[in-house]
Amino acid sequence: MQDVFTIANKNFKSRLIVGTGKYKDFKETADAVKASDADIVTVAVRRVNISDKNQPLLMDYLDPKSITYLPNTAGCYTSEDALRTRRLGDKKTLYPNMIETIKSTEILVKEGFEVMVYCTDDPILSKKLEDTGACAIMPLAAPIGSGIGIQNRTNITLIKEQSTVPVIVDAGVGTASDATIAMELGCDGVLVNTAIAEAKNPVLMAESMKHAVLAGRKAFKAERMKKRKYGCSSSPQENLI
């Protein structure tokens, strides 16, 4: 049976979303994206360098017709304020400023954008974002780029339980097992950038993330066994020699 991932009425095959920052070059970016099997990539929107227009372009390497571009400052075109606030956060921890995030979500939703919101792992604020009209909730597992994995499984589980829109763990994944844990907790997807881009072999790590997300998703769907305090034999105890 196909396990379709739906965000804002659009269907995707892969539950892994990959970022396109921090790679050595666009070739490596494209190779990693291909190995990850992701249908969605995150991108940044920046000014074109008017004085040097011969620089290679991301779009020459990743065809926007075959892969979905998710601008990480979504909706910045029509709401200058929202663009600025999206960038607001603590400079050291890069934690999102949730008060400003809620305000910009409100503006962007009113303007008709589908907003997938990066946020802290706070269940109350996540609910507020959903009520404000976010089409996906993207709580951080840990500070962005930290690679230390899911710090608060309880919160991520609570957020998933209460949400009617997809919950995608965004930020903090360091290696494959972190992505698997996010999926085992029942999250709908995982977003990974630095863990792939900063691996010694990014393309191999991208492939590993693909399998990690698939494994975690299947484990979640299979519904894991109950935990026991003591050992329990797997072989029958009867008819021993």
Binding site: G19, T20, G21, K22, T42, V48
Partner: protein, 72 residues
Amino acid sequence: MNNLNVAKIQLNGSPYEINIETNLNQLLNKLRIKKTKVAIEVNGAIVEKNKYPKVILNKGDKVEIVHFIGGG
């Protein structure tokens, strides 16, 4: 003496001179930028690509030409 045929605009945050009556298609042609690769905002509002020939730039307009780059 001021040249009446040119107008100063703000392009990506810097002053830039254009011929008067320049539309967005002409601006991109002059800059040798392919319209399929960028998005343009004029005075805070994004302009749809099919409207580029109709949008004539005026003195003082703030134009932002943006594109997608790698990001997480």
